[in-house]
């Protein structure tokens, strides 16, 4: 790992070099009241005055809707057109939060668990991640409680930490190095000490290791009903979550042509587990809420050696009835 330094005034030229070298640069952009990731053409478009984007950066690798294949019927013949890896551009994800970068671990695990998902992996390979340490946080943030931090480098190819007049660049991977190499002359060694003073202080509110252990035995707890009582059963939390990866397969036939699509889905919906028979194994919102938390804090850790939550707080911000996950986890933590 190299720790380098770049002057504030030099960042735009480095950015331009990156933009010139890669097809797409994706960065947070302000639209009215919300900030969302979007393809940007100039450095000025990048938004910095926000705590968190509404949606996470996962859709760069796992789009809301993506085509698995298309087909065309010709009389009795059928011609199928498969996913073409060559169609995936090389891209740079700029100015993501460390909590988003950290979310790639559980996503990588899901898409490579038994079946290796070509579409996800191709995008993953062709995407470089330049994250930015958080200088500010709000009451929804709890990255430190789930093993991350406002200056955490996990998942990033480069982590930038802004100082008063420049940025500390922690170059973590070869991909990162090649991005630096585009403007090597702008970087200097950084030796001025700890970055911590430039990074937001996010208080730790529970011990995640204890929590994981405790939740393992909590399947039949009353807490799920109590916590989920006000849940309305929408999909907002799952759709804004950086690690939620449930999807649904849909057909889009148009006469003799058509395509098969993969679309986001959410375990919060009542229909998610509805069987054709009419039976629904998760028939109550309490069981669906339990699934959401158990999945993130019990099932994923058991199988994939990572947590299913990075403490970004998006679900809490998006929830129409203020289901605050940090608060709910803390209260589980406090159960004796």
């Amino acid at each position: 790992m190299d720790t380098l330094y770049i002057k504030k005034s030099d960042i735009p030229s480095w950015w331009n070099a990156i933009k010139a070298a890669h097809d797409h640069v994706v960065a947070p952009v302000r639209k009215d009241k919300v900030v969302e990731f979007a393809r940007v053409e100039s450095y000025e478009q990048v938004a910095t005055d926000y705590i968190q984007t509404t949606r996470s950066a996962k859709e760069v690798l796992f789009p809301r809707t993506e085509r698995l294949f298309s087909y065309k019927k010709n009389g009795r013949d059928i011609e199928v057109q498969d996913f073409d890896p060559e169609s995936v551009p090389s891209q740079v994800l700029w100015h993501v939060r460390p909590c988003d970068a950290a979310s790639l671990f559980p996503l990588d695990a899901v898409f490579n668990w038994d079946y290796k998902d070509v579409m996800y992996n191709t995008r993953r390979e062709r995407t470089a991640i330049v994250a930015t340490s958080c200088a500010t946080a709000d009451e929804y943030c709890f990255c430190t409680s789930v093993g991350g931090g406002a200056g955490d480098t996990r998942g990033s190819d480069i982590l930038l930490t802004y100082t008063a007049d420049g940025a500390i660049a922690e170059v973590m991977t070869e991909k990162g190095k090649s991005l630096v190499a585009l403007s090597q002359n702008l970087f200097t060694e950084y030796t001025a000490g700890d970055k911590d003073k430039y990074v937001a202080d996010v208080p730790r509110v529970f011990d995640v290791e204890k929590l994981k252990e405790k939740m393992h035995g909590m399947f039949d707890s009353q807490v799920w009903k109590e916590q989920s009582e006000r849940c309305l059963g929408c999909g907002a939390c799952a759709y804004v979550c950086p690690t939620c990866s449930c999807f649904d397969i849909q057909e889009n036939p148009k006469g003799s042509c058509g395509e098969r699509l993969r679309c986001w889905d959410s375990c919060g919906f009542a229909q998610f587990t509805l069987h054709t028979s009419g039976h629904n194994p998760r028939s109550t919102q309490a069981s669906r809420w339990r699934q959401r938390l158990m999945h993130k804090f019990s099932y994923i850790p058991q199988r994939q050696d990572s947590l299913g939550c990075t403490g970004c707080g998006r679900c809490s911000r998006a929830c129409p009835v203020d289901m605050n996950i940090k608060e709910h986890l803390s209260s589980i933590d406090k159960i004796q």
């Binding site: 019927k73 009389g75 009795r76 006469g255 003799s256 042509c257 028979s277 009419g278 629904n280």
Partner: protein, 666 residues
């Protein structure tokens, strides 16, 4: 994969001349799911139908599209052909490439392409078609006739003579209705009672007719072939079984001065009474409003004199239910409330009377034994004025319609008057003379020319009394609008015919519609004149609009034929194009959430809410349910249902959706 056959008809040159049928058949063969596609000169001909039938059998087709003329033309032909080849007839669809294509477009590529598109739309529809079977509704072969006037009598007799049971319900103590009150009838001047009473007796004696007089329909539930009627048998305080109709009670009754309804309030009757000597049943009823016993708790004279002990004081009303398959509504009409005619002094001057009252005066069974006498002093009027259109054709009184019978009965009244009072003078004020009908105009001419009735075309402005005379001020528009003033002894108003009091309530109980004058509405003014919008309920007579006797009797027989046709089979067969609310196994039961908004949208009241219960009888869910007997298949509820829990057989969501998609995608 479906196995669909496409059969393209040339219709000689009708289609073939504009559309390249061969090409349509070739291209249709490429549509996925099409097993066979062929064209032929005349698909509807015997050889053409044979091609279809053979293809169904040989290729095992599960759907057929015939591209030919309008489905309104030959859909039934081709569906029958499919049925013969053992394919469900509702798996056959028609692509209309004649009326909608070859006849309306020029020959060319675009027209052939359109024909192919129309075929594709039907192919995709057939793929979603489900086999349907004709709906069979059991029929209770018993009719309910409401109202025992001439319409009800005629309808009941016709249905009964066709071999079916009839329940006849009359709210008055006797059947007969208004016709029984009439003196003579136009245009033949037969005595009304002479022609009516035999029919009344026939009703009473007919083995197929059950007669309930002094009874009213309280409610009607169910649907065509399967109605349940609740009938209130009002307590008449006389046991009809025991009563012999000897009349002792009526002679002894101390209350003798009750105005007689039968005599249009011109004569008097007792409190225990028989409306008229010809009443059917000819047995008395106690009028509780006027009976001394009911008023004071004392008397019971009738009970004492009754030789058979038939008087049953204090018996309650009885409610019975009857299962019937059809209903004929014959509740008749009423005359306009006379309080409307203050300018004519009705109610203030005793000698201003209505036409119906005149009928009673002229009737041999009436209060004057058929002599025309003034109600005020009993003298014979020497000068009489008839005012036609009293309340009819009068938008200011809210009744712009013509009451139809008044011109004729006014002519009859004037004629009867002239026959009875030879030295009398009669005047008729009229707006127009509407005498359309067999021998009708001749009748009016006779009144004018032979009987010397003075017809004055004009309206009467005012009638007032002065020194015992009625001064009638009017205008003669044929004499240049000259004012006319007649000093009359009697004035007869041809009051408008109006809907019965309570007609609206009855319509609501029966779930039939009514117009703004509260006359019951027919299903179609020309082609369905005796049907209502509710299947199985029919109309006859003046409850629908003012009618004369011949029209009433014709309508009653018409309604009776409809009933007899309905009763001709044990089951009623209906097209399966009906809406259905989905049902599923537990725990879902149905996707319907029971919002009940569809109940109001149905024009046929076919939708009700049904409780789904568990074994213990607890309600698990309330969902909509559509009665296939009542549903006519418009599909308005289908498009309205938010959760798409209702679908229309034959025009289902999937079928319509696929057709639209096929119109836009190859």
């Amino acid at each position: 994969m479906s196995k669909i056959g496409v059969f393209v008809c040339h219709c000689g040159e009708n289609i073939g001349g504009t559309v390249d049928c061969e090409k349509v058949a070739q291209e249709a063969a490429k549509i996925p799911g099409v097993e066979v596609s062929t064209d032929y000169k005349y698909m509807c001909s015997d050889p053409g139908q044979t091609i279809i039938k053979n293809a169904i059998k040989e290729k095992g087709l599960d759907g057929v599209v015939v591209a030919a003329c309008s489905p309104r033309m030959h859909e039934s032909t081709f569906r029958a052909a499919c049925a013969e080849a053992c394919l469900n007839p509702y798996m056959c669809e028609i692509a209309n490439i004649r009326e909608h294509c070859s006849w309306v477009h020029e020959k060319g590529e675009a027209t052939t392409q359109k024909a192919l598109d129309l075929v594709r739309m039907q192919v995709e529809k057939v793929k979603k078609d489900l086999p349907l079977s004709t709906i069979k509704v059991p029929v209770t072969k018993k009719a309910l006739v409401i109202g025992g006037g001439i319409a009800g009598i005629q309808a009941a007799l016709d249905i009964a003579n066709a071999g079916h049971k009839v329940i006849l319900v009359e709210k008055e103590p006797s059947i007969g209705g208004h016709m029984a009150q009439l003196s003579e009838t136009f245009p033949t001047l037969d005595c009304s009672q002479c022609i009516l009473t035999p029919r009344m007796v026939e009703v009473a004696q007919h083995p197929n007719i059950t007669l309930y007089t002094y009874a009213e329909v309280e409610g009607l539930e169910g649907f065509i072939g399967n109605f349940t009627a609740r009938i209130r048998l009002k307590a008449r305080s006389v046991d009809l079984e025991k009563c012999t109709g000897c009349g002792m009670c009526t002679t002894k009754c101390p209350t003798k001065k009750v105005p007689s309804e039968f005599n249009a309030l011109m004569g008097l009757r007792t409190a225990i009474y028989v409306p008229s000597p010809q009443s059917v049943p000819n047995k008395p009823t106690i009028d509780k409003e006027h009976c001394v016993y009911y008023k004071t708790g004392k008397c019971k004279l009738c009970e004492k004199v009754c030789p058979t002990g038939a008087i049953t004081f204090d018996a309650p009303d009885e409610i019975i239910t009857e299962e019937v398959g059809a209903v004929v509504v014959c509740t008749g009409f009423d005359v306009a409330p006379t309080s409307e005619f203050s300018e004519y002094g009705y109610g203030r001057y005793k000698d201003v009377i209505t036409g119906l009252q005149f009928e009673r005066l002229a009737s041999a069974s009436g209060p004057t034994m058929g002599e025309i006498r003034r109600p005020s002093d009993g003298t014979v009027p020497k000068k009489i004025v008839f005012i036609a259109c009293a309340g009819s054709r009068d938008a200011a009184k809210g009744r712009p319609y013509c009451s139809k019978i008044c011109c004729m009965y006014t002519a009859k009244h004037a004629m009867l008057y002239q026959h009875k009072v030879h030295d009398g003078e009669s005047y008729v004020f009229y707006m127009d003379i509407r005498a359309g009908g067999k021998n009708y105009d001749e009748f009016v001419r006779r009144a004018i020319e032979e009987d010397g009735v003075n017809y004055i075309r004009g309206r009467v402005a005012r009638v007032y009394e002065r020194d015992g005379k009625l001064i009638v001020k009017g205008v003669d528009t044929l004499l240049g609008g000259e004012q006319v003033e007649i000093e009359a002894d009697m004035v007869v108003l041809a009051t408008a015919g109006v809907a019965n009091k309570g007609a609206e309530d009855l319509a609501q109980k029966l779930h039939i519609s009514y117009d703004k004058y509260n006359f019951f509405a027919e299903a179609h003014p020309k082609l369905k004149p005796v049907e209502t919008n509710t299947a199985g309920i029919f109309l006859a007579g003046a409850c629908q609009s003012p009618k004369d006797i011949p029209d009433t009797v014709a309508a009653a027989s018409g309604a009776a034929v409809k009933v007899a046709a309905l009763f001709s089979k044990d089951q009623l067969l209906r097209e399966p194009v009906v809406a259905v609310v989905n049902r599923m196994p537990p725990p879902v039961f149905s996707t319907c959430v029971g919002c009940s908004l569809c109940v109001d949208i149905c024009p046929y009241s076919a939708i009700t809410m049904e409780n789904i219960k568990d074994r213990a009888g607890n309600v698990i869910k309330t969902v909509a349910s559509i009665n296939p007997g009542l549903c006519q298949g418009c599909g308005t509820c289908v498009a309205f249902c938010r959760s798409k829990s209702i679908d229309l057989q034959g025009f289902s969501n999937e079928e319509m959706y696929s057709s639209v998609m096929a119109a836009l995608h190859e």
